[in-house]
Amino acid sequence: MNSEFLIQIKELKASIDNKEILKGVSLEVKPGEIHAIMGPNGSGKSTLANVLTGREIAKVTHGTVVFEGKDLLGMSPEERAREGIFLSFQYPIEIPGVSMVNFMKTAINEQRKHRGLEPLSASDFLRLMREKKELVEIDSALTNRSVNEGFSGGEKKKNEIFQMAMLEPRLALLDETDSGLDIDALRIVANGVNKIRRPDTSVIVITHYQRLLDYIVPDFVHVMYDGRIVRSAGPELALELEERGYDWIRKEADVSEETWTTDRK
């Protein structure tokens, strides 16, 4: 059981409406590592995040995901969350009428129950809220409102990081958490992530831009294209992509695809 990996994704394939979106993704993340996934729009990055968190839009047709020695794909979304997986959504949902306080209290206590702990007392909970709000520099008024209701784009992203701070996940998936943020907000969000991280917290950062990676420095950078990870390297790859764009990746990938198809014939 004592695998050296926090998460091990093997040959993962998934389809939406019978259209294959993930075409065999493999990725291994050790505790404490930061991985960046980059790649053009539509290549399947969010779909990967959805599959890992248990959203049923995409149907897994092949492959395995082992998280801390357990079969992740057999778990419900809530079980995965309680086991320590957290997704910062690319498009956080507004939920009118559900208060942030009630939402977080329920989430925290479900997680505590899962770990065999008593629910937090009201005062301990409020103290925790206050502490984490300061950590991610989120406006106090926001947490008195309904979940994301009427929040600006930047506030929604900050709110995702606030929730991450509250739940202290083992593995955080940040899906374009930087997009739509101005440079100040980006800095706050990125520093928030760094402050939340413990040495063994792993992060998968999905992004288009190098600028977030200046703050959250990855150990590995992967490029996803057309449902596959087509290239993996160190942080220098992100810089190269920033400079050269994705076209060369596309060309290389398409070429190798052709070669592969021709070979098979």
């Binding site: 968190t53 248990g54 959203r55 419900s76 979304p77 809530e78 995965r80 969350a81 309680r82 957290f86 997704l87 959504f89 956080p92 949902i93 939920i95 009118p96 009428g97 559900v98 009630n102 939402f103 329920t106 989430a107 479900e110 997680q111 899962h114 309904s146 979940v147 929730q163 739940l167």
Partner: protein, 452 residues
Amino acid sequence: MDYRPEVIKALTELWSGSYKTFLKDSPDIYNRYRAGAFDDFLRMGIPDRKNEAYKYTNLEKSFGYRYEKYYSPVPADFKEAEKFHCEVEDLDVWNMVLLNGFFPHGEEGLVMLPGGIWVGSMKAAAKQFPALVEKHYNKYASNENDGLVPLNTALASDGLFLYAPRKTSYTKPIQIVNLLHSDKDIFAQDRNLVIVEEGAQLSLLVCDHALSPQHYLTNTVTEVFVGQNARFEIIRVQNQHNNSGKITHTFIHQERDSYASSNNITLHGGLVRNATWHSLEGENSETHSYGLFFADKQQHVANFVKVDHAAPNCNSTQLFKGVLDDNSSGAFNGRIMVHQNAQKTNAYQSNNNIILSDTARMDTKPQLEIYADDVKCSHGATVGQLDEDALFYLRSRGIDEHEAKLMLMFGFAHDVIKNISIEALRDRIDNLVLQRLRGELSRCASCAIQCN
């Protein structure tokens, strides 16, 4: 087979003996309308689905049932009522208990609250405030569209009288708890009159409970006068059982610069139909009609609203929501009528419903009639499932699917509840709804009054 001739026959028999029995000591102010009203009832009958306003509501389940008696209290009943030793748990409201539409203390019940507001029985009011009652009684109820209103006018013998004289106000809401309790199946009617005079302010919470499992049918008519610059809010919480039928007709008449708000919260009932009529007769007035219901099993809940913009510069909103499960059904019929002189009208209507099963059914129908040209009017209706994205969002934070659904339904419902102006009431009703969603709502547990 049409169930109605039988029922009408039984009601006609009841009517012919009524002055000897339950209307024996009824005041003339009320009696003078009865014969005409009964004729109106016979002419119109019990509404069926050919009546536009009842298109989606079949009353047979409640009206077709043979009730053992038409309720009229006898002294023994009042003794029985005394047994409901009720204790006020919550000091945020002033409250009064009505048993089967009657005051347990009989006719003497008319009291003045601090601040000068009168509350008590219609019978007592006819004696103490004859001119006032005469001025308002049966002036706002429309006996022309729905046979059940004249049926009430003809046969109801008592009900709640609430009177806020000029410029009076009472800081707490007044709570009326309507208890149904009997060892027989009963058909009851209560007739209520609320008068909020110029500059006065009043909040009324009406809770309908059924304490025994018998079959009940209540046909309630409430007339409300809201004077110039006056403010009135009514919140109705209905928590009965599957054998009970509850039909309400509330007519709110508003003078200029007035404000009124109605909120019908139906937590449980076999057949419920709330009709709320808002009549904006004076300019610069504002009126709000809210409703929220939860239905499951074979229950049916209908809301009918009519807002009449009869004066310029008035604002109205309608917000109705429903959650339906199992084989339940619901109906919403929201009408807005803007009269020719009602320029600068703002009228808004929204009806949203969540259906949790494949077999539940919701019919929603807006009707707009606009005869003025400078008018802002909007309406929209939705019938759908719980938002899958929102559900996933909650679950992705570790919240159980069942709990996440409850949270979403609560959020959906809270959108209506949040419009209640008094925070203590809002919180209490939030709690009631949570209990309802968790299936923990028992008969009196939710009430300010704990009866034993």
